[in-house]
């Protein structure tokens, strides 16, 4: 077991980077902190690749879930404990690679992008912290461990979104992201509590073993117990999924994601595109056997939440004008894809295609979405604006960005042979086999995706001619170009990975095959979307406005993100603050404290009322005296013998 400890170094190296930069960055490594952080991560990434190589190349079949290392961190009771450990299975290894790779890219990119920033060391410290947390999350061997890192990821995200802390909007966005996900995490936590109570363990291996074997008492009791019409297990899984949905920005917990774009763009690429937001998908995948074998109903919910999120996000993305927001909604939409892919999947063999597809899409999406964000970052870096209206015709000034961005757009639109095509095809196939309704939704969304991505692409790089504000520094430096190119290669070629060989539900390799007949329709839709975008946005015309006017109400509500933000605002501000918080505070000050003060005040009042007894007249005193004598005598002679 100790021989596997080196795996734990993968997260610990970024942690060391965080501690080093966090404590001494400001004083000692003012300018070199970027390099230091990157080096730490480079080592970590190398280790991750080595682990992956070691893991996948070892045998012909997929190695089962194994726990490489574990340490009891906190013993709750005889059965329940939080163990800190490393769990290795195909998806965790895959995630290790994705996270370290994308994070490395972002680190390198930031060397250029964040140069000269006042809190440069802090930035790298936070990035390291995030990477540490994310790596810890993916390799968790214990349900509670995942929750711990889940929270840490949340807080790193908060720190990075709020990196420009003197910008009120950034602070607000960071708060929003944290609070919304925290709310979801509440569900997660309760879900963990329920699940651990039924299963009697927090350890993934034992947990999955117990909750999937029909003979186990734990499973029986979890299924037979019911609360409000749902079984205990369903509650547990749904609540855990709620946590996942929050982090993965699924409808209706997605509202934080677009705002999170207030953070530095590389951060958006890392956290809000490639890694953290897919944690929810990863969580469901981690517990997939339980979902699929023991509780298909919960999985159904996962599927529909994913599908609805996918389509809503796509519609909204069509109307946004801030390029990062468009990308944010697109992320949400793509995660929706992954989510419903899991939802439509079943356990075992060919029926588990959705699972594989989902993981595959997660993998490819990480590449092209990171690329898109970094590209957008380059554009923003250049024009100093996020708004589409400030852009146009940039292809001449940013050639490399332009090309890589185009590759990424094609990948996301599902045009072969780019990466997105393969993964999306598998998803659609899985959906087609299991749930026709979701399939049609997915198809529509897929077309829409192509449309809004190319709307973005044309608006940035074509459309009106560029009008520049004096400076013509062109592309960022080498540091910014290198990640774009590497990710571009990834976005173009990742689809050819024989993914099914490595990742499947039950460990048996899955052959992926492309059926031309099936692929024709989605690809065609993608092309239609591209053409429509070209028609509308290649040249500056008034067609978009006309179209918007003709669809006025839909457009308006989509533009306003279907008013979900307003709804939340209403609930929090009006209901929570005004109807709960304010009355609680009032009640405390006036009623509870009032009662305490009342005892004091009434004592004082009584004291004031009886002071006349002490009249200062000695005869009255004597009368009281005699009265006392009479009362006592009567009392004790007659009443109280």
């Amino acid at each position: 077991m100790n021989s596997s400890f080196y795996i734990a170094l993968i997260p610990l190296l970024p942690l060391a980077g965080f501690i080093l930069l966090g404590l001494f960055g400001r004083s000692f490594f003012k300018n070199s902190s970027g390099i230091i952080g990157t080096l730490f991560l480079l080592a970590s990434a190398a280790l991750a690749v080595y682990v992956a190589y070691d893991y996948f190349s070892g045998s012909a079949t997929i190695r089962p879930r194994e726990i490489a290392f574990t340490y009891t961190w906190l013993q709750f009771s005889d059965t329940l404990s939080i163990d800190m450990g490393v769990l290795l299975d195909p998806i965790s290894v895959m995630m290790l690679v994705v996270v370290t790779f994308v994070s490395l890219m972002v680190h390198i990119y930031s060397l250029g992008y964040m140069k000269g920033e006042e809190r440069y060391p802090t930035y790298y410290a936070f990035l390291s912290l995030f990477t540490f947390s994310m790596l810890g999350l993916v390799m968790s061997s214990n349900l509670f461990q995942i929750y711990i890192f889940w929270e840490l990821v949340g807080v790193s995200s908060f720190l990075l979104i709020g990196f420009y802390y003197n910008k009120p909007s950034a602070v607000a966005a960071a708060k929003k992201a944290f609070i919304v996900t925290r709310f979801a995490d509440l569900g997660f936590l309760i879900g963990i509590l329920i699940l651990s109570w039924y299963s009697g363990t927090l350890d993934f291996n034992t947990l999955i073993a117990r909750m999937t074997s029909p003979e186990s008492d734990q499973l029986k009791s979890a299924i037979t117990s019911s609360f409000l019409g749902l079984s205990g297990l369903t509650w547990a899984l749904l609540l855990i999924f709620m946590g996942g949905a929050g982090k993965s920005a699924m409808f209706p917990l997605h509202i934080w994601l677009p705002d999170a774009m207030e953070g530095p763009t590389p951060v958006s690429a890392l956290i809000h595109a490639a890694t953290m937001v897919v944690a929810g998908v990863y969580l469901v995948a981690r517990l997939f056997p339980v979902f699929a074998i023991s509780d298909p109903a919960a999985l159904e919910v996962v599927a529909w939440v994913g599908a609805v999120s996918a389509v809503i996000a796509a519609v909204i993305a069509c109307t946004q004008t801030d390029i990062k927001r468009v990308l944010a909604y697109s992320t949400m939409s793509q995660i929706g894809f992954m989510m419903f892919a899991l939802g439509v999947s079943k356990y075992g063999g060919e029926t588990g295609l959705g699972y594989t597809a989902s993981m595959f899409h997660l993998f490819t999406h990480a590449m092209f979405k990171a690329l898109l964000f970094l590209g957008a970052g380059a554009v923003i870096h250049y024009v100093h604006s996020n708004e589409m209206k400030d852009m146009g015709g940039l292809r001449k000034y940013l050639p490399i960005t332009h090309i890589t961005f185009l590759v990424a757009c094609l990948a996301i639109a599902g045009i072969p042979p780019f990466a997105g095509f393969f993964s999306k095809e598998e998803i659609l196939l899985a959906a087609h086999e299991n749930s026709p309704a979701i399939y049609w939704i997915a198809l529509f969304t897929s077309g829409l995706t192509a449309f809004y991505m190319f709307r973005l692409y044309f608006s940035i790089f074509w459309n009106k001619p560029a009008h520049l504000h004096g400076e013509k520094h062109g592309e960022g430096g080498f540091a910014m170009m290198l990640p774009l190119i590497l990710l571009g290669i990834g976005a173009a070629g990742a689809g050819f990975t024989p993914f099914g060989k490595y990742v499947s539900t039950d460990g048996s390799p899955l052959e992926s095959h492309i059926d031309i007949g099936f692929s024709a329709l989605p690809v065609a839709l993608g092309v239609v979307g591209i053409v429509a975008a070209m028609w509308l946005y290649l040249k500056p015309t008034n067609r978009p406005e006309k179209l918007a006017a003709s669809l006025s109400s839909l457009y308006k509500s989509a533009y306003h993100k279907f008013y979900i933000d307003e709804l939340y605002l209403f609930i929090t501000k009006k209901v929570l603050f005004n109807l709960v918080g304010r009355p609680a505070a009032w009640f405390d000050r006036n009623v509870v404290d009032g009662l305490m003060n009342l005892t004091g005040n009434s004592t004082e009042a009584v004291s004031g009322a009886i002071k006349k007894l002490q009249s200062g007249k000695v005869q009255q005193y004597a009368i009281y005296f005699l009265g006392g004598v009479i009362v006592l005598a009567v009392l004790f002679i007659y009443v109280w013998k």
């Binding site: 005869q619 009368i623 005699l626 009265g627 004598v629 009479i630 005598a633 009567v634 002679i637």
Partner: protein, 185 residues
Amino acid sequence: MKGATIIFYLLATLTLVCGVLSVTTRQIFRAAIYLLFSLIGIAGLYFWMDYQFIAAVQIVVYVGGIVVLIIFSIFLTQQAGEKLPKQRIDRKIFSALAVFCAFALTMLQLYQHTFYETADEPVPATVANIGNRMLSVKEGGYALPFEVVSILLLAALIGCIVIAMRDKTMNIEQGTLNKEVEKGK
């Protein structure tokens, strides 16, 4: 009815009536005189009970001492003929009520109680008997109380002197204070 009985009731009436008058009359001098007669009535009752010594003490100390003292102080503090201020009527009624209740209660208890009488041989209350006892330290002796009372009388004397003769003593003792007092005047 025997003569002794008649005398008893006469004495009782004298005592009570004079007592009542003493606390109700609005002329202070008369009040003192009524008090005097009431006390004499009590002395008479002592005589009636054959306790001559006590009766004598009563007359000497009360009639000869205390009442004289009181009358003297009346002269010191007030014109004898002046009428006393009226008490508030509610106070009067309330007092009367309270007092009557207490009285009724007391009498009720007294009458309901059967007193246990001893058949002891009475010890005559002669001066000799009383004197012996008074200075005896043996069983039934009252030497210690006697000493206590003597100290009390001494203390009372000192107290009276200090309080009642303040100007004089002040002049004797404290020169500084005296000047201030004179200035104050």
